[in-house]
């Protein structure tokens, strides 16, 4: 006998699978479970049961752009500090350790005050204070269980413990086997409710090495200087890692103040994607993440970049091979025209048949590689970039000229229907690649939730691309790609042949 229940179930399964095939993403979107906890933290859970693993992330709505002059690098410093443990993880005896840490801080502040003095403090005074500071650090070491937080997570099976800081966001993300959900919740809630910024000054040394690593390539150096030129007022001008002077100067007190201001529950989003059952998980997350104090949503004001009035150019001479980047100011990520910028970036630079590849790489053989990038800075008005890596024997200026030819075409000739067709197909393919894994999904959900206010906007992207017209592209090109809105950065290979005796 065929049971009605069986028929119904079969029908539902059929409909379910049709939904999955049609477009393919509705099922994903409809699987997301969201909740705002009593303390103001937003939680998103997206179940995917391909393998017994999940990715969890905590997104803090703060980045390098929120820093102040004289204390740049703080956002990234705190990110490092978040791995140093808590009042219970990473310590042998917190009571004793706290006293030792306070002593370090006192010693550093005294040393710093002396270093900052003008006219200069005497060498003897500085040496005394430096020795006291050194000793205070040594006295605190015995209480430390080094890297305990990382060790626990690695031992329990995390293959990808990581975090990153950008201009707009600070994200802590890693995966675990799915039976360790409670571990994730316990660690994340502990680390943002009770962090202890131990080994602070040692870690600053590590960060300074990280900065030196970045500056060991001409490209790294150029970008750092380039942002400072492209932005005269807005804090996008300050490269996330901060200046060496500020890195040396910042104290633990400032880092703790940063944490207090920006790491309250109201400013955090938690996202889990993977082999998670939302019904069972949510109470667990509430229990643990609920321990993070609500706080107040901090102000996101960053002094605006005024309209650029003159073309800017920066030329760096270096033994490395040449390079050219051309940037134009563009509105923020949540601007209604943002998809038009995405479309321009793709049609001009998104593939071997893109306009830049065809012109600069294939036809003129000027560049090894030429592309676009549309998202340098998202939360606030950022930059749209064109860049080219010149072929051997070709100059950055030749590539620059070729880039302008392509940009001018965009202003005068509408893109073709075939190009728009290709744009849609490529956008769909790229979308799949971005979200066909737990980590990509988690990151995108968290980013959209914070940048546009609604995670569902992730799933609206393809529709927005579909609506972009040739007129839109011409309009935006004419408005944006003008000389007064332009900053150019060039790496010129080190001094040309000098007047050698030949």
């Amino acid at each position: 006998m065929i049971k009605k229940k069986t028929l119904l179930l079969a029908l539902l399964t059929l409909i379910g699978s049709v939904l999955v095939f049609a477009g393919g993403f509705e099922a994903l979107e409809n699987s997301v479970v969201e909740k705002t906890l009593p303390n103001g933290m937003k939680v998103l859970i997206l179940p995917r049961h391909n393998a017994p693993v999940f990715t969890g992330l905590i997104y803090a709505d703060v980045g390098g752009a929120n820093e102040q002059q004289n204390a740049t690098g703080l956002a990234h410093i705190f990110e490092h500090m978040a791995f140093k443990g808590t009042t219970t993880v990473g310590t042998k005896d917190y009571t004793k350790e706290k006293a030792a840490l306070d002593k370090i801080e006192k010693a550093f502040l005294a040393l710093r005050a002396a270093r900052d003095r003008k006219p200069k403090a005497s060498d003897e005074e500085l040496k005394t204070l430096e020795d006291a500071f050194q000793k205070a650090q040594e006295d605190a070491q015995p209480f430390v269980v080094q890297n305990e937080l990382g060790e626990i997570l690695e031992r329990e099976g995390s293959p990808d413990l990581n975090a990153f800081t950008s201009f707009d966001q600070t994200v802590y993300l890693y995966s675990l086997p799915s039976n360790k959900l409670e571990l994730w919740a316990a660690i994340e809630s502990d680390r943002f409710a009770n962090p202890v910024l131990r080994e602070f000054y040692k870690e600053k040394d590590v960060i300074m090495e990280e900065k030196r690593m970045g500056e060991s390539s001409a490209f790294g150096k150029l970008l750092d200087d380039f942002m400072a030129v492209a932005f005269k007022n807005h804090m996008y001008r300050s490269w996330v890692i901060g200046s060496m002077s500020d890195l040396k100067h910042i104290s633990r007190t400032e880092a703790e103040a940063w944490f207090q201001k920006y790491y309250c529950a109201r400013n955090l989003t938690a996202v889990l994607v993977g082999d998670v059952d939302p019904a069972a998980a949510m109470p667990l997350l509430e229990k643990y993440l609920g321990k993070i104090p609500a706080g107040e949503k901090p102000s996101m004001f960053v002094s605006e970049e005024p309209q650029q009035r003159a073309e800017k150019r920066i030329i760096m001479e270096d033994p490395a091979q040449p390079f050219v980047v051309v940037a134009y100011h563009k509105p923020a990520f949540d601007d209604p025209d943002n998809s038009v910028y995405d479309a321009i970036a793709d049609i001009l630079g998104g593939g071997p048949s893109s306009r830049l590849s065809t012109s600069l790489v294939k036809e003129k053989k000027l560049a090894l590689y030429a592309a676009t990038y549309t998202d340098l800075g998202k939360k606030y008005p950022g930059l749209f970039l064109f860049f080219a890596v010149p072929n051997q024997g070709k100059s950055p200026e030749e590539c620059e000229k070729a880039l302008y030819e392509e940009i001018e075409k965009l202003k005068t000739t509408p893109v073709t229907p075939e190009e728009l067709e290709g744009l849609k197909a490529r956008s769909k393919a790229n979308f799949i690649k971005a979200i066909d894994n737990n980590m990509g999904l988690a990151l995108n959900l968290a980013s959209y939730q914070n940048l546009t206010g609604n995670w569902r906007d992730l799933f609206r992207e393809l529709e927005k691309i579909d609506k972009v017209t040739a007129d839109d592209i011409m309009r935006i090109a004419r408005k944006t790609f003008v000389g007064t809105n332009k900053t150019v950065g060039i790496i010129k290979t080190a001094p040309a042949k000098d007047a050698e005796a030949k």
Binding site: L153, E154, R155, E182, A320, A499
Partner: protein
């Protein structure tokens, strides 16, 4: 109670107290439910009658289809004299289109449908991979099959690829972490080995279209190709499509033999690279390791995890966390499937902590050999691996690629399960034995690159230092095949030129000083040359009040201005070293040919300035020089060579004129230099002093 018992009780209570404190932690009290079973998707295996091996996995999550084909061959299949052929093929396989559709049309087509097909070559195989949306599956499979069966290799795309490869060569020293592993590879596997050898400009000139076609004909055959497909399809349907498009592919001729490169034994070495434009010293050290399927792999793997893998590792904790010397520190043992892999350990630190960081790393290597690891470390490493196991199955792509590689190398399909079982059994003693047997300090090769002058201690602290020169050779790479006849004649001609110039004055020459004026591009500058044979040379140019000095002093190359010195960039230093050979009518080059330090061969008779000349090619570390020796008089009239200019390779000819006797030597008072056949530079020499004794301070700054 006895004192001893009291002490015992105190200890017990104290540890209970400590345990109690730790037990209060949430993290220690967690009880985890059992892990859901791993339910990997089914892998359907199939083989066509032509030997093509196929793996298929259905995955309906997203509306796309992906393919990967591995073709046996790769770099190890390159004929020795065709260095770079596999890389060129890796690029042009895709860019050159097929015999049915040229590369540009393929690009446009794929872009329009949002699909991609990419190719690249590695050590042991050539890979072709594709991604497309479900609706284009059939067309893309057909195109993919065409690429494997009948690639186009059109000349325009070969040229383009070579241009790109030249650019890659010119950029190969720009990223520090691209340089040091490459140099270590050359030391461990041998610089000519297919596992390590690098591409030079001259290699590219030697590669032709028929070479690509030949390689394809020999190596691209279904019975040496492994194909994986996964995505939104049914296996039955996909099988039929693959049969349709690949079934007709045939195996031509006998199967080629895969010959793996021999790996020479290595010994301890310390290698240094001077690089002036980096803010840190980049350290990369290692030695030969194991094959993936070696019975000792599991304990070696655990040992290398403890030593260098991740946050918990000894290298990370010591060099980064404890000493604060670096952002990145770690390493491991990277196995290869069919030959010995390698141990590698790395860090980067500011110049003034170079020796300190290096010593810390070496201490850790000795420590893990000398003592058992701790129970906590063993637990972390083993449990970490076992707990991470589920991640080997977290994406279809990962799973399929793993299965494909196993098939390709003849590994069992459940190899990773076997490895897991082996890891579960590893003990602390196994780890120490592994370290003692395989991580051998007397076989370590150390490479350090940075601002050598600013190191806290010289690297000679760690052993005899080899200086590696990473200068990219600009001229033609010359393999002068042994030809005693040509060499004999070259020596004869060199002596003839020396006689014209003035024997025995030439052979007795120890140093030379020139004072003159150079004109180029409408401007004139006074200049001086100081040269003490064999390796101290300085060019001093005067611009009004200022003077600029370019100095070569043995290995060092510096630029000096107003007493301030800076290292001379590699490419500039190369040019200055070239000048050492040609200065003053090539005196040093002639001497070196005669005393045997430079190899030379007679080429042929030619004409120069309307007069018959004999042409001799001299092969120096700075490239090839062609000498024009007057057939009648023996005068060395001119020298020709290549140099890298701003716009590419330049052809340089220096012409020696107005020869005058100076202390027994006939030297030119005028030198005209042609660049690409146009006169560009003119030198007038006012004064020459020979064997005058030049102070060594001249070459300091």
């Amino acid at each position: 109670m006895t004192k001893k018992l009291i002490c015992l009780l105190l200890i017990v209570f104290a540890s209970l107290g400590l345990m109690a404190q730790q037990q209060k932690r949430a993290v220690d009290q967690l009880v985890y439910p059992k892990l859901n079973d791993i339910q990997p998707p089914q892998v359907v295996e199939h083989q066509l009658s032509n030997g093509l091996t196929i793996l298929m996995v259905e995955d309906r999550d997203f509306p796309s289809v992906n393919m990967v084909a591995l073709v046996r061959g790769g770099k190890i299949a390159e004929p020795k004299e065709k260095n770079g052929l596999s890389e060129l093929l890796g690029i042009t396989l895709r860019t050159g289109g097929t015999t049915n559709m040229n590369g540009d049309d393929v690009d446009k087509y794929l872009d329009r449908i949002g699909a991609s097909i990419d190719s690249y070559s590695s050590e042991g195989e050539v890979t072709l991979q594709s991604e497309c949306l479900k609706e284009n599956t059939d067309d893309v499979i057909k195109l993919f099959a065409d690429f494997l069966k009948q690639p186009g290799f059109t000349e325009d795309k070969i040229d383009l690829a070579k241009t790109q490869m030249r650019s890659e060569i010119s950029r190969r020293n720009d990223e520090p972490f691209g340089v040091v592993p490459r140099e270590l590879n050359k030391i461990l596997y041998g610089k000519d080995s297919a596992y390590a050898r690098q591409l030079e400009y001259a290699d590219l000139d030697n590669l032709k279209r028929e070479d690509l076609l030949g390689f394809h004909k020999t190596w691209f055959r279904p019975d040496m190709t492994y194909l994986a497909v996964w995505g939104d399809f049914s296996a039955a349907d996909m099988k039929a499509r693959l049969e349709k498009y690949f079934g007709g592919w045939t195996n031509q001729g006998p199967k080629p033999q895969v010959v793996l490169p021999q790996i020479p034994p290595t010994s301890y070495s310390v290698n240094q690279i001077e690089k002036s434009d980096v803010e840190q010293t980049f350290i990369f050290m290692g030695e030969l390791g194991l094959r993936y399927d070696d019975p000792d792999y599991a304990p070696v793997y655990m040992m290398s995890e403890i030593l260098g893998g991740g946050f918990s590792s000894r290298l990370f904790k010591k060099v980064r966390t404890e000493l604060g010397l670096a952002y990145g520190a770690g390493g491991g043992m990277s196995p290869a499937f069919d030959h010995k892999g390698m141990f590698y350990f790395y860090t980067s630190t500011k110049p003034s902590t170079t020796a300190k960081a290096l010593q810390a790393m070496l201490d850790e290597i000795h420590k893990i050999r000398g003592e058992l690891v701790t129970d906590v470390e063993l637990k972390t490493a083993k449990e970490g691996f076992l707990n991470r196991f589920a991640f080997q199955f977290d994406s279809t792509a990962k799973l399929v690629n793993r299965m494909l590689i196993y098939k390709f190398y003849g590994y069992p399909m459940d190899f990773n399960q076997k490895l897991r079982a082996a890891v579960e059994k590893v003990t602390k003693e196994d780890i120490q034995k592994a370290a003692q047997n395989y991580l051998l300090p007397d076989k370590l090769a150390i490479v350090a690159m940075g601002k050598v002058k600013e190191f806290d201690e010289p690297l000679s602290k760690f052993g005899t230092v080899n200086t590696l020169d990473i200068t990219i050779p600009t001229g033609k790479k010359v393999e002068m095949a042994d030809n005693p006849q040509a060499e004999g004649k070259a020596l004869e001609l060199a002596k003839k030129a020396a006689k014209f110039m003035g024997e025995p004055a030439l052979m007795n020459l120890k140093d030379i000083y020139l004072d003159g004026k150079v004109s180029m591009e409408g401007q004139e500058f006074p200049y001086k040359i100081y040269f003490v044979f064999p390796d101290k040379y300085a060019q001093e140019l005067m611009f009004g009040e200022m003077s600029l000095k370019l100095i070569i002093n043995g290995d060092k190359a510096i630029v000096s201005q107003g007493g301030q010195t800076a290292p001379l960039p590699d490419s500039e230093a190369g040019d200055v070293r070239k000048s050492m050979w040609t200065e003053a009518n090539c005196v040093f080059l002639l001497k070196s040919i005669i005393d045997g330090t430079v190899k030379a061969q007679y080429l042929k008779e030619g004409t120069f300035a309307g007069q018959p000349h004999e042409l001799v090619a001299a092969n120096t570390p700075q490239g090839l020089f062609l000498l024009f020796i007057d057939k009648k008089t023996g005068q060395l009239s001119a020298v020709r060579y290549e140099s890298m200019g701003e716009k590419g390779n330049e052809d340089i000819v220096e012409i020696y004129q107005n020869v005058k006797d100076v202390q027994g030597l006939k030297l030119p008072q005028q030198v005209t230099t042609n660049v690409n056949n146009e006169p560009k530079v003119s030198n007038k020499i006012w004064k020459v002093k020979v064997n005058s004794g030049i102070a060594s301070a001249t070459f300091e700054k």
